[in-house]
Structure formats: C-alpha cells, structure tokens
C-alpha cells in the first residue's frame, strides 16, 4: 500500500493544519483567553494524518484527551473546534465540552475523552456497531502508552478479539504517561507486544513517519474490513510540549528531547516530498501560508462568537 504523491501532500497539509492550530491554541492559552486544560498534539501529527488517510468518512474513531489532531485529521472544522475550546456557543459542543470533549458524530468522531483509557472500550463498542450493521466500516481507537496500563485496555482488547471486531487500535506511544517514563511504567516496552496476549497482530512503527503510519494502518484497516479482526499499530512518537500547557516536562532528558525535535514529523515529511520531487520548498510554504490564513480566520470567528446563554446550563442533560 505505497503512498502516492497526492496522498502524502494531503497528509503534509493535515499535519501543518494540526501544528498551526495547536500553535494558536497555545498562544491563546498563554494570553489568558482559553480556560481549562490544554493537551497539545504537536509532535504527534504524523499519527493522526497517517491513520486518518486510510479511513473513509463513515468510519468511526474514539479519541483521547490529546485529541485535537484526531478531530482535524478526520475532517473537523477548525472554526468550530476553536470556538469549542474557547467555550463559545458556536463550538462543536456549544461550549459545554471544551478541549477534552470535542465530538462530531456526523464525521464519525465519537469524542475526545478526559479519562485516560476510557476511549478504548468505547471504540470497541463502536466496532461492534460496525460489525452488527453488516457493513464494512471500521472503528479506530486512539490511546497512549499510559492508557495501556488501564484495565479498560485489557478487557476491551480481549472483547474485540473474541468477537473478531473490525477494530484498529492505534497506540500513540509518546514515551511518557504524564511524567512517568514508559520504561518505568510498563513491561514490555513495546505496547504492541500486548496484542499477542489477546491473539491478534501488533506492529511497531515510527510514529513520526506519516508514510510508515499510513502503510501499517492501511493493512490493519483492510484486515478489519475483510472480517479479519483487530490489529494494534503502535506509533512511537514524542510530544513537543509537556503533558498540558504549563507543564515544562522537566522530567524528560533535554538531549532526548532535542533528538526528537530534529525528527519533527513535519520536517521528515517535507524532506520526503522534496527528495521525490513531489513538492518544492515554494509549494510547501504556500501550503503553510494557506493554512495559517485559515487558522487566523477560525480564531477571529471563535473570538467573535457569543458566550453560551446562561439558560444553556440546564439544557442537554437528557435527550428528549
């Protein structure tokens, strides 16, 4: 499943969009205009871009607290996302969810999740819905290395396996569960090895290489669509920021941080595009300018959007 020029350019564009979105969200947070917690996706863009490039619009995803990248890559509208994380009435969830709770069921996004590991059984349930409805849709569940120590992970993987569900598990292993280094918080150090414990394949890829993520995920998705059951793809990656904005990540080795920054997924992808003659520097800069303009327009939309009405406090508790 080799990647073609237009596909890789689309992935690059997606990664730039995520990065620019996160940069602006970061700025807004530091300027004091953004309430709550903010878990930036910067550094992990190749995972969202590579995975989502394998999916159809009607496929489902279950996301995490670090979910902005997933939503953008699945087709989320950055205006509605920014409005949501600013708590405005025009946001995806009318300002009631915030950064950790963006959902867009019409795009197949079952929601970001504030509880680490909680998305995993939800993604498995969505996979059951895909199988039950007799189509060939798949459900993709994102989680991190930290979540792989939750009971939800183990129970959900087993259920997906015994029911042969069309589930793809994407572990974004950024090597730290908040401040706890993965080599200290779990054994073995490849989360993908745990898939074997539940009787299905697990594969490790360079999570900063969008092409590698795409290829591994495409195989997993094809297997799931054909009724072959679940697969785990572990993407080794690195977050550029701390666990949340405000966390200086002093628990990480500065040398290791520098090594990973040198392997920035956007830089790696740009190099591949250039080396194959698929896009020159000017074309890549044009993409960046175009995306920046789109994000600025989204910021303006969000900042101009109204706050929720106080009466909204009491609505949407129950579905009528």
């Amino acid at each position: 499943m080799a990647v073609e020029r237009d596909q890789l350019l689309d992935m690059y564009r997606c990664m730039v969009k995520i990065r620019e979105f996160e940069n602006r969200a970061h700025d807004l947070f530091l300027a004091g205009g953004l309430p709550g917690f903010l878990h930036l996706y910067s550094g992990q863009e190749a995972v969202a871009a590579g995975v989502m490039a394998t999916l159809r619009p009607d496929d489902l995803i279950a996301s995490t607290h670090r979910g902005h990248g997933h939503v953008i890559a699945k087709g989320g509208d950055v205006r509605l996302m920014l409005a949501e994380i600013l708590g405005r009435a025009t946001g995806y969830c009318k300002g009631k969810g915030g950064s950790m709770h963006i959902a867009a069921i019409e795009l197949g996004i079952l929601g970001a999740n504030g509880v680490v590991g909680a998305s995993i059984p939800i993604g498995v349930g969505a996979a059951l819905a895909c199988q039950y409805k007799d189509g060939d849709r798949v459900s993709v569940t994102f989680f991190g290395d930290g979540a792989s120590n939750r009971g939800t992970f183990h129970e959900a993987l087993n259920l997906a396996s015994i029911w042969d569900l069309p589930a793809v598990f994407i572990c974004e292993n950024n090597l730290y569960g908040v401040g706890f280094c993965q080599r200290d918080h779990m054994r073995p150090c490849d989360v993908a090895e745990r898939a074997a414990g539940y009787g299905f394949p697990g594969i490790v890829v360079d999570g900063n290489d969008a092409e590698a993520v795409y290829e591994a995920t495409a195989t997993a998705v094809a297997r799931a669509r054909a009724g072959g059951g679940p697969t785990m793809v572990e993407c080794k990656t690195w977050r550029h920021h701390g666990h949340f904005v405000g966390d200086q990540a002093l628990y990480r080795d500065p040398a290791e941080h520098a090594e990973w920054l040198a392997r920035d997924p956007l830089l790696l992808c740009a190099k591949v595009l250039a080396s194959r003659g698929w896009a020159d520097e000017g074309a890549l800069l044009a993409i960046q300018d175009e995306i920046r303009a789109e994000i600025e327009e989204a910021v303006a939309f969000a900042l101009a959007s109204p706050q929720p009405a106080l009466s909204d406090l009491l609505t949407d508790v129950y579905s009528d």
Binding site: L60, A62, G91, Y92, C93, K94, G95, K96, G97, H101, A103, A104, I105, L110, G111, N113, G114, V115, A118, I120, P121, I122, G123, V124, G125, A126, A127, L128, A129, C130, Y132, K133, S139, G151, T152, E155, A156, N158, L159, I162, W163, T315, D316, V317, Y318, S319, D320
Partner: protein
C-alpha cells in the same frame, strides 16, 4: 392479561422490543447460556447469540463497549449481574454514558439500559446484596427505574429500551418469583410516573422496588389498627414524580419513606428534603424513614433479616406519628 412472574415479564418486554427494533441487543455475563436469574434465557432461545451476547467476566468492557455501541447507533441492554458491581463500571456509567449528551452539546445520544440485580434476602452477604440506587440518582444524565410488580417491570423495561438516555433498571432478586397479572402484547409505561398501589387517607408510604411489597403488607397490618395507609410506588426515581408525592400528602398529611438501601444519603433523604421544601405546609407530623441501618449487608440470616426493613418496622414507624 396473563399471570407472569417478574422475571418472565421482563423477558416478555425485552423480546417484544427486540422484535420491534433490530438494533436492540442483550449483553452480559452468562446472559445467553446460563443467566444468573434466568431472565434472558427466553431471549436467547428466540434470537440467538448475535443478539444475546455472552461476555467474559469484564464488567468494564460490558459497560464501556455498550457506551460506544449506543453512541454508534445500537441500543444495548447490558446486564450487570449484581448491583454491587456498579463499583466496577462507575466510570463508564457515570463519567462516560451519563455525561456524553451534555458535554457534547446535545449532539450525541447514548440509548442504553443497564439491568442489574439488587437487594438482600438470600444470604448473598455484603458484596452481592446492596441497593445502590442513590449512586445512580446522584449523577445527572442517568435515569433510574426500580419496579415492584411484574406488570410495571414489563411496561418499564420497554420504556427503558425506547428511551434515548442511559437508564439503570434495578431488579430486586426477591421479586423474580413474585407473580401478577401482566397485560398481553406491547405494553409501555411512561418513565417518571408514580403509581398508587393502595389508596388511603391517613398516611402516605413512599417506596419503590421490593419495599413496595413490604409497605403493602404493613398497610394490611395498619388497617387492623384502624389506619388507612396509602402506598405510593415511585417506580422511577429519576425522573421523579414529585407531583404524585405532594398530591398524596395533600390527602394524608403524613409521610413515611421506606427503602432497603442504607439510611445516610439514601434516596429517601432526597424525598424528605423535597417535601420539607415544597410540601412543608402539607405535613401534620415529622417525616419518618424506614431503611436499612448504615452497615454492610450481613451474611447471617438472623442479622440479614434484621437489616432489611419489614412490615412490622414500617407499621411501627407509621404508628409513631400518632
């Protein structure tokens, strides 16, 4: 009308809903091959293993996958074998299912039912006997149903399945063998409507689940004492039929609340607080609660019998009002 027991009535209701809507499925530990209280065996025989799905001993996955399946368009009826195991599924129930409609701005529906078995009385001891409805009622976004008769169970399980919200459906284990007249065919009761199980003019006994039966027994005893007790079966705790409670008090002016759950922070406290707030002028006497004591459920049959409220205790509470 036919005479059915409580468990059969639930199965009847489930089968009708599964015939009506192919997206309804049953899931849980041993629901197909060896149901703990037998309820879903008839469903399995009728619909097979795709729609009545046995799971491993994985309550977290039962509840968590149900949330995802419901969000993605199915209507799971998940069985949690004992209500005590709510502790295992609390994140999936209270932080996920209950909150998704609100925190996603009303864009997502989570239509699922959690059927679960409550109550003491069979020597099942501290971890298989609790009545934990107040854990549920304290979480906005969940509905809480606790029927006391076969007919109500049939009508309310159908309503629960059709509801677009997460609903906890509490089945007291001692009710399964109780029998009653049940309407034939499709029968759906509204969620949030209490029912006067016995009319009376001297005192209102508010109750739900198996304690309704104990309250009716107490009302018989009280009749011999010359006291006409009204027994109001709440049937659903969330949403609560507040009007029915206040209307009954408007006739009787005395209130005794009976529940099997432990006393402190039990749902009876909520009922008492609402009446103190909105029906104070209706009261001619203090509000009394008849509940279990604030202890775990004991194993010893002697102690267990002392733990569960009975007709004599309810009678005594009513007579104490003077």
């Amino acid at each position: 009308m036919a005479v059915r027991n409580f468990g059969q009535a639930i199965a009847d209701g489930l089968i009708l809903e599964m015939e009506r809507d192919p997206d309804v499925y049953i899931v849980g530990e041993d629901v197909a091959t060896f149901p703990a209280f037998g309820v879903t065996r008839a469903c399995y025989e009728r619909f097979g293993a795709t729609r009545v799905r046995d799971t491993p001993v994985s309550e977290t996955a039962i509840m968590g996958h149900a949330v995802g399946a419901a969000a993605a368009g199915l209507r799971p009826v998940a069985e949690i074998m004992f209500m005590d195991f709510l502790g295992i599924i609390l994140d999936e129930l209270a932080n996920q299912a209950a909150k998704m409609h609100y925190m996603f701005g009303g864009t997502m529906k989570v239509p699922l039912v959690v059927r679960t078995v409550s109550g003491a009385g069979i020597g099942a001891a501290a971890q298989h006997s609790q009545s934990l409805e107040a854990w549920v009622t304290h979480t906005p976004g969940l509905k809480m149903i606790a029927p006391s008769t076969p007919a109500d169970a049939k009508g309310l399980i159908a309503a629960a399945v059709r509801d677009d919200n997460p609903v906890v459906f509490m089945e007291h284990k001692l009710l399964y063998a109780t029998e009653g007249e049940v309407p034939d065919g499709e029968y759906v009761l509204p969620i949030g409507k209490a029912d006067i199980k016995r009319a009376g003019s001297d005192v209102t006994i508010v109750s739900w689940s198996s304690m309704v039966q104990k309250s009716l027994a107490a009302a018989d005893l009280l009749a011999a004492d010359g006291v006409a007790a009204e027994v109001l079966d709440l049937r659903t705790l969330v949403p609560l039929d507040k009007d029915a409670i206040l209307e009954s008090l408007g006739r009787t002016h005395r209130l005794v609340i009976v529940h099997e759950a432990v006393k402190t922070s039990g749902f009876g406290a909520e009922v008492a607080a609402i009446v103190a707030d909105e029906g104070f002028d209706l009261l001619d006497a203090p509000i009394k609660r008849v509940t279990a004591p604030d202890t775990p459920v004991p194993f010893s049959p002697v102690l267990e019998a002392a733990f569960v409220p009975d007709a004599a205790k309810i009678r005594a509470a009513v007579l104490s009002l003077g």
